[in-house]
Structures are given as C-alpha cells and as structure tokens.
Symmetry: C2
Subunit: 240 residues, 2 copies
C-alpha cells in the first residue's frame, strides 16, 4: 500500500503554543518536537514580514539564512534562461526552508500571500545543530520530508495527466489546510508553473471538474471538493 504524501506533512500548528523561555539542553521530547514550538529556533531567529509577491531570496545568492514560516504561503521556484519557470514547491506554516547543498540558494523564494517568517542565520543554526540533538532530529526530519515530497512531485510531473495533476493538487491542498471549502492562495499561473502545465490548461481542467460535478466553485479561488474527488484521487495512487 502506497499513497502520495500531501504537499506538506507539517500542518499548521494551530493551538500549539508551549514555549519554554530558558534554553535547556534537551528542549523537548522526541515525539513532541515540532519546528513551530521549538524554543531553540525561536531564540535564534528574528521575525520578519514580507508582502504579497515580495522576494525573500534569490536563486544562486549566497545562502545566509534558514527560514521558518509562521503564517502565510511561500513559493520556491527555478527558472530556465528563456523565462520558463518551475515552482519546486509551495511552503506552509511550520515548514523550514532554504536547504542547500553548496552554500547558495538553489531556488528563488517569494511570498504568495503576506507572510511572517522566522529568519535564522545559518552559522547560528548550524552551530546549534551540533550542540542540540533534538533540533538535529527536527532538522533532518524536515529535510527528509522535503525530499519525499519532491519525489512525489517527480511522479506527478512524470506520469500524471493534466486532470490527475490538478485533482491531486487540490486534494493535497485540502489535506494540508484541513479545510474543505478550499481557499486557493495562489493564482492559476502559479498552479500551472507548479504542475508543469499552462495556465489555460489549469483553467480548463478546473472548468471540466466543475462541469462534471467533482468540485464546486464558490468563488474563483474558493473550491468545494465533492467526496468522489477526494476518494478517486486517493485510490488512484495506491500501488497494486
């Protein structure tokens, strides 16, 4: 049995507000550890706010910081020389981002909505990783999840049709936000650049899903998923 992981497995922490002001060596037990409430990250970082469409960092710039989203949605993307854009992923509250393997950012990060992020200088975080085992596990787990989700995305882009991609996207988004009348924070262009399609194809697929009664458009960016869509999209990805 195998089913695709949602876009993000770190759900918004919601009511989770257990903060410890003094910094102990072991800040939390293994299973309760989340990036959202981690006191080490909280102490290392400074809160910063970005406006809609503002750039947080540029691809190939020297990677000075890690970022933890407190609220809002961010997109990470790459470009080809002729302007073609591919969004690597959308990033949601609780996600730690800006991983790199060579000291330079490998994506450009932009605010899809107004966002508030914790900006954590790399040297400090890297030092804390050495001294704080539970933070290390948290960091590693975050990285492994991002890898898993990116491999999911490779499967989606390599082997799914336009209808399957959009359906999978919508159900994943519903899983992350946990809301069924689903509020799309991003434009059709963003969705297209994430799914490897054109904005026209995305628009047509959404119209088709509406026509077939699989979704309901309460507003341009407010979508109600019918139960069948959720079911079909889940069963579709179960290995034989």
């Amino acid at each position: 049995m195998y089913s695709l992981a949602p876009l993000s497995q770190l759900k918004p922490a919601g009511a989770q507000t257990i903060f410890i002001e003094k910094l102990p060596a072991k800040c939390c037990t293994l299973d309760k550890c989340t990036s959202m409430h981690c006191p080490v990250l909280r102490q290392l970082g400074t809160l910063k706010v970005y406006n809609h469409n503002e750039t947080i960092f540029w691809e190939s710039d020297k990677a000075a910081s890690f970022f933890l989203i407190k609220s809002g949605v961010v997109r990470e993307c790459r470009m080809l020389s002729d302007g073609r854009r591919q969004i690597s992923r959308f990033i949601f509250p609780g996600d730690l981002f800006a991983h790199t393997d060579n000291g330079n950012y490998s994506n450009t990060a932009e605010a899809v909505t107004p966002v508030s992020v914790l900006v954590i200088p790399r040297p400090q975080l890297e030092q804390s990783l050495e001294s704080t085992p539970c933070l290390r596990r948290l960091f590693l787990k975050n990285l492994q999840q991002e890898l898993h989700q990116t491999q999911d995305q490779v499967l989606v882009l390599g082997r799914m049709s336009a209808v399957e991609r959009v359906s999978h996207f919508l159900t994943s988004l519903a899983d992350i936000t946990g809301a069924n009348p689903l509020e799309l924070p991003m434009t059709r262009v963003d969705i297209a650049d994430y799914l490897g399609l054109t904005l026209e194809t995305v628009s047509r697929v959404i119209s088709r899903l509406k026509r077939e009664g699989k979704i309901e458009l309460l507003d341009t960016n407010k979508i109600l998923l019918s139960a069948p869509l959720k079911l079909s999209a889940n069963s579709q990805h179960v290995a034989a």
Copy 2:
C-alpha cells in the same frame, strides 16, 4: 548564473583508497570526507552483491538499512496503481541511498547493472550519526545533494521538451561518468521512465540527435556526444 547540477555530484572515487582501520572520533578532515572512503561507514556495513535487475528493497517495506554503492548502477522508482512507473533517480558509486522520512522505504530500488553495495543497518548508522560529527556532515550533505538533484528533475519534467530532456540526460550522464564515448547502462524503457516519456519517444529523439549530427551511435548503448550538444545543453539552462 545558474546551471543544472549533474545527476550525481559524487563522482566515482577512483584511486581514493585511504583507509583507517581503527576508528577515531574525528575520522577525517571536513573537506576530505567522502562516503567512499569513510572508515565509519566501512566498519558499520557489510558488502553485498546484487545481480542485474535484482530488487534491493521494495517501496513501503520497513526501512532496515542504508546503502552505499561501491560499484554498478541502481534505480529507485515509484509506481502508480495502474502500473505507470517513475524512476526517481539513478544512483552511482559513492552515493548513499534509502533516505526516508517515516521509517518505510519510499521507493523500490533495483540493480540496473550488477552492483556491489555496502549495507548499513539503520540503528547503527543513526547511532554513529549522534557520536560522529564528520559522518553527520557527510550524511547531511548527501541528503541535501539528493534534494537538489530531485529539484533539478522537477524542473526537467515540468518544463523541458522531449529533446531537451534527453539531451540533458545524456550530458549529465557524461558529466557523472567523465567519459565521452558514453556507455548507457540502462534500457530505453528505463530512460523513458526516468524522463517522463515513452520508450518510443526516447528512441525517436536519439535517432533525431544522431541525424542532426549531435551524437554518434557507436553501438546501441554507446554514444559519442559532439561538442555542440554539450555546449547547447549547458547554455540552455543558464538563467537570464
């Protein structure tokens, strides 16, 4: 300036055979550390050989071990319920694989050629990670590189044409192996399942590249890249 990373950034270690039999706390200096010569990994793992097309582990099985390739080529892949297959990546000597975020393998791994791998039990490796800082950096670096390469793959699958995908694949493979009359270890089906195409399309593109003088087919699986292909494939991916 941005250019796509090759499929693997860990080149075969070749002549690198510095082994230390006794296990020191710091086994090597930061910049000389490679998974190929790391004495800690060497001590933890046992060497195992797999035949052509033999399965190393199955997707969703409990993840018991990590693997380090000493020789040969491995493919990691995922399946949809109807049999569609997507190869997440090809893995080459020096690569550490079987990362997971939930304790189960997220891909099936199979030997593309006869391979010899170091099988490293997870509990032991995880324990050594805690106690050995340089191994930790090595492990983290490996994971970050895999993420980077997978994001490259997302860009390739999402935004490149068939010709671009195959050209990029061939040049990347030449970069990894460092050999120009390039020996393809995998079949057309494998290439297709890696590039999100059909085997016919891969075959047609290769024929076309041959017709256009960009490659020379010395044998079905032996390809000589003309300089122009290498150049064009590089310049194609440089950001504006």
